[in-house]
């Protein structure tokens, strides 16, 4: 175990160690939503998380912010920010001071996190006054600057408008302006462009790239879109049924996926070259919490599953270049996998 009091500059910006998220109550008590999730985010780095819906991507990001739904609790593990802030043990009040200031979040649907009844101006300046103690005038000036920075036209008059008066792309930019208003160290983006059209999506991703470069903000980017991940990220984590099943650099993961799940997802994308052949698809579905057996969680859908896979749980093993996979087949081959799995 590392010392919690490691010097701030040496510690990772975010360090999640063996995180367990469990269900609290009666029927599901004891069931794990997330199981042994570990990851680090370094300063200025963009980490991607991919996986089908229901794999635990959003629960992971909510746990970092202390925003878990009431039916869930942290059942084990640690979440460290800058090596000295234990987010996993912080009170609601302390973590609230962190949220928005050190760690900010943008969601898929900006309407759900913007307040319908309040002007854009109020929503931006409130954050600045609360976290940074700005005066009304200072906050207003900074708000105008932020709206301009995220590429919104006529910022002065926008301050007086309400969220519903804006288009989807403009609202997402307002969300980003609010998120970066206090210069957070970490920006968590949960499917930030999924509801947007390709041309608008490209503008928003470009904006996030610019913020990363100008402010050195680290980004944890959750997406089910491999194209977006390949475009934006340094490293990628693949989640399946509450676990990380593969992780590595974008190049390693896309070039030589080690886990059959990752390989299957990549093969099922209908890229232009596949036009005239049937698409590969992973049959079956992500097992629900109560359907997870003792063995590999992907065993029910894996073409390579053996008896051992069905009874024993593989560990996440790291191979060359830190490319890691949770799979017996990868273990047997020592992480040397070149053909399509």
């Amino acid at each position: 175990m590392r010392e919690a009091a490691a010097i701030a500059t040496e510690a990772s910006l975010l360090d999640i160690r063996n995180l367990q998220i469990r269900l609290r109550r009666t029927r599901g008590a004891g069931l794990s939503v997330l199981d042994g999730v570990s990851l680090t985010v370094e300063r200025g780095e963009t980490i991607g998380i991919v996986g089908e819906s229901g794999c635990g991507k959003s629960v992971l990001s909510l746990s970092i912010l202390g925003l878990l739904p009431s039916a869930m609790r942290i059942g084990g593990g640690e979440i460290w920010y800058e090596g000295r802030h234990p987010l996993h043990t912080m009170t609601d009040r302390d973590i609230r001071a962190f949220r928005g200031k050190e760690i900010a979040m943008i969601f898929q649907d900006p309407m759900s996190s913007l307040n319908h009844g309040l002007t854009i101006g109020y929503q931006i300046t409130e954050t600045l006054r609360l976290h940074l103690g700005y005066s009304r005038k200072e906050a207003r000036e900074r708000a105008v600057w932020l709206l301009r920075k995220v590429g919104l036209p006529r910022p002065e008059s926008l301050l007086r408008e309400y969220p519903h008066q804006l288009s989807g792309g403009m609202r997402q930019r307002v969300m980003i302006a609010i998120a970066v208003s206090c210069n957070p160290g970490l920006l968590i983006a949960d499917e930030p462009t999924t509801a947007l059209d390709v041309t608008i999506q490209a503008q928003i991703l470009d904006l996030m790239r610019q913020i990363r470069e100008e402010d050195g903000t680290s980004i944890l980017l959750i997406s089910h879109d491999f194209g977006v991940i390949a475009d934006m990220c340094d490293r990628v984590l693949v989640m399946y049924a509450g676990q990380i099943v593969e992780s590595g650099t974008v190049d390693d993961l896309f070039e030589r996926p080690l886990h059959p799940y990752t390989a299957g997802l990549l093969r099922s994308i209908p890229t232009p070259a596949k036009k005239n052949s049937p698409l590969y698809s992973i049959e079956g579905h992500v097992p629900a919490l109560h359907e997870r057996g003792a063995g590999c969680r992907f065993a029910s859908r894996c073409a390579h599953a053996t008896e051992r896979c069905r009874t024993e749980q593989p560990e996440l093993v790291a191979y060359r270049g830190g490319h890691a996979a949770r799979c017996f087949l990868a273990e047997a081959e020592g992480g040397n996998r070149h053909a399509a799995v």
Binding site: P153, S167, D197, T199, D231, G264, S268, P270
Partner: protein
Amino acid sequence: MPPSEPLVELNGITKSYAKPVSLFKRQTLRAVDGVSLSVRQGETLGLVGESGCGKSTTGQIAARLLAPSGGKLLYRGEDVTGAGAGALRRALRRRIQYVFQDPFTSLNPRFPIGRLLGEPLKINRLCGRKERQLRVGEMLETIGLDASYAKRYPHELSGGQRQRIGIARALILNPEFVVLDEPVSALDVSVQAQILNLLKKLQREFSLTYLFISHDLNVIHYMSDKVAVMYLGKIVETADVDSLYSRPLHPYTQALMSFVPADDLRAKREKIILKGDLPNPLAIPAGCPFQTRCAHVHERCLSAAPSLKEASPGHSVSCHLYA
């Protein structure tokens, strides 16, 4: 069957809505503005564009779920725009079907799947109870679910299974023409692949003609023979799929195509990032609707709206750069 005659034709279709802008004032929103399209028998026409650009409205008009404000709808060359009564109307109701993005919202949650699938047969008085059950069973098998699903309820199904039911419900009447409105947009990529495979298989088996609506460029490419690109209620470009993807002409299509990931997802492409935002749909400027975001905008674009013209055989574009 040789893909020759157009099965469905939209001819200068327009749809306007009156939108209240204040207590006393209404403004006309042209959701669809002079759209002409044709889909040939056995082919798939892909319709792509940003959300709110009028794709669903166009699809619903083609499926006769919505009456246009102007223009004509032809089916096998016959004007069916106003086919309001009698035998023709009944026949069209069976021949033309529409599949929604999330069929769940259109399925009665209290009915078991068997009843939901049998309902269209019953409404159209096509067969008795016994045969209905038989056809439902067959249809479930066709879409890759076993007969026991007839007894299940919509909430017991996954997103992919629900979409299969949505498709089955459309196909049980043996239609010729099916409008598929973003049928895989809510699905994960592995499930999406299953549904796309299924749709292609069904098209071959039942020689179906599709109008396939999506904003996903990969999915449109995979499914379509021809593609029409829509922007703010208008068709700005149309061509067969290969020439559209390899030689896009309209500046908007060119931007779209720059985001189609290479087969090697890591290959970085030169992306065309558009500046500016969509105009307010109630205040679309005079001239070209794309002018607020176009890098090639020139004086003529601000005053005169371009019209769709053939640039090469089978490839049409609506832009002053090519006129």
